[in-house]
Symmetry: C2
Subunit: 366 residues, 2 copies
């Protein structure tokens, strides 16, 4: 009887997890609203804090019971925090593969965490501004995402969350090193701040690498859309601070803000240059992408991202009317493979997805 009841409980939790994901995929996360400072170039800003509980080994060496205890402690702490009113709690072990992929696509968990077999959890607030991965590389990876250049707002929110949670959780902290983390590169503030920035003009002119080289490459890291170990697609770069030790949080944020503004300025300058020297070629690229999106019958995610980049540039520069960054973000997020597959299980086949994706695009932008 006990076994049956336990199975039933897991099923009900699985059921709840499915419903949560079903709800999630219908709406845009608030960071994708297209609003926010410098929102035409800077898609979003993210800050994450790595935290670990005192006296429990890091996830890579901890046993399942210890990890389960971490999950329960974090859940309890969140439930006592006002920030997490109405938040959802997803238990990784009861979350199926497609749902995990949806979470990766929404940038709520890392691709690595999606593969985890041990007890883990994701906490997500209603607007998807704040989320926590429990038992990824560290016990807690708290993340705050804001639209546009929102480093200060992200920092305000995440430090409030960090303060509230620390009232109920005992963090591993050393007076000498700061917050202790699984990977030494995170030790200190345990903070990483990053921006997701759209650099089509610099990409066309092949100048991104050069700017990165000039901007103290030891300090910043450039990654792809889905974070560490992923490719840059659609000319969208994730740029983050590299140093965490021996720096204050505000110093890191200020430095990244300088870097972000530098990229924005260079991208704007590159757009001006394209407009001046290669206007027709630029228009040709932009309108061809628009034409292909409006007409294609088969469209892969990757091809879509490349055309969206050109169309976004066209919208930003005033060539294209009637399309907004929000519509483009909807296309970018809702047409991702797991999002589509979650909505319609028949779309397991990638060719079939490419056909339906092309249909979704035509409906949105015709």
């Amino acid at each position: 009887m006990k076994v049956v009841r336990k199975t039933a409980r897991i099923r009900s939790e699985k059921q709840r997890g499915v419903e949560i994901i079903d709800q999630l995929i219908k709406k845009l996360p608030s960071w994708a609203s297209g609003r926010g400072e410098q929102g035409d170039i800077l898609l979003s800003t993210r800050i994450r804090l790595a935290r670990n509980l005192y006296g429990i080994p890091f996830p890579s060496t901890a046993g399942d019971e210890e990890l389960q205890a971490v999950v329960e402690a974090v859940e309890k702490a969140c439930q006592q925090s006002r920030v997490f009113d109405g938040a959802v709690y997803l238990y990784l072990q009861q979350t199926d593969e497609i749902s995990r992929k949806v979470l990766v696509e929404r940038r709520l968990i890392s691709p690595m965490f999606a593969e985890a077999k041990h007890p883990g959890m994701v906490v997500i607030d209603t607007a998807e501004n704040i989320s926590i991965m429990v038992n990824e590389e560290d016990h807690l990876r708290i993340q705050s995402i804001q639209p546009g250049l929102g480093l200060k707002e992200a920092w305000r929110v995440i430090s409030r969350v960090d303060d509230e949670l620390s009232e109920h959780l005992s963090y591993a902290f050393s007076e000498q090193f700061g917050y202790l983390t699984a990977c030494p590169t995170n030790t200190g503030t345990g903070m990483r701040a990053s921006i997701l920035i759209h650099l089509p003009a610099l990409s066309i002119l092949d100048e991104v690498e050069q700017i990165i080289r000039e901007l103290a490459p030891s300090e910043i890291a450039v990654r792809g859309f889905y974070g560490e170990g992923t490719e840059v697609i659609g000319n969208i770069f994730q740029i983050s601070n590299q140093l965490t030790l021996g720096r204050t949080e505000t110093a890191i944020i200020d430095r990244l803000e300088v870097v972000a503004n530098k990229f924005i300025e260079m991208e704007q300058e590159a757009r001006e240059r394209l407009l001046k020297k290669q206007r027709v070629d630029l228009e040709d690229r932009i309108y061809r992408s628009l034409g292909i999106l409006r007409h294609a019958r088969i469209m892969s995610s990757l091809e879509l991202m490349n055309h969206l980049s050109m169309v976004r540039l066209g919208v930003d520069m005033g060539f294209i009317d009637g399309l907004t960054p929000e519509i483009l973000n909807e296309l970018m997020i809702f047409t991702q493979p797991a999002h589509m597959q979650k909505l319609d299980q028949r779309l397991e086949d990638s060719h079939q997805r490419d056909v339906v994706r092309a249909e979704m695009i035509r409906q949105k932008i015709h």
Copy 2:
């Protein structure tokens, strides 16, 4: 005084040549009407006769005075023929480079003839159904073009012209060999019949070569859009008979009609197969081409021909409404480089032409 008058005469003839070309480029030749039997696959049919005047060397060895005499004899003969009522007479030496290129683009003269420095002439009837190159490889190359599969009509027209001209011209003819020609491959009937056929489905399936191999390759030759020595572009093939000696004209025509029908049948069958097995891929190709034509800001002739091929297929198969073969032929003919340059001398620059071409396309098919 005499010299001045002669210069004035040449100028006035040049002037007249310019006007003729100016008139020519504004209208579609009647073979491009898009009507005609099997006109969805078979664009046009052409028959040409090679004739030489008795007692005058072939153009490659004749002197300028002899060639001038040929020009005058042919002009006089044409003026006595009803077929050439209202026809225009263009003297090659008074026709500038761009105008010669226009004639090549309209398939009224060969690329080789466009380079000629010796006395030569082109006679063109008002509908461009009948034309004569004087002093190309042979003294006369009489050509009759019809829309669609019009071998019998082309033959009816050209043999009437041939009969009428032969009343006023003395042809070089041997009882043993037939009509004597500069190149022995033309000796006999002096006739070559050809079709211009659009084979997009067979091209997609990469089956054109195989069909040619099966269809007695010694008998037929496959060439590009502008004839001998030119490339196949936009999946349009020129297919002609190879043998002229020891065959009657009607035997040649009947044989080419069999070949034409075979190609039409194979192309239709290939379209059916594509529709059955790769419908979405086919639609994707067709609509992408349409989308690019509707949106591009820069378009080369070659790229246009390839997209036109897909759009033509889409029109033929009923995927695309509101476009006709005639509109597509207008795009194909009026956007050729010399046609554009003739209309606007500033379009000497090929990049500038590509920009204006894209504009013309958008106006036509939006």
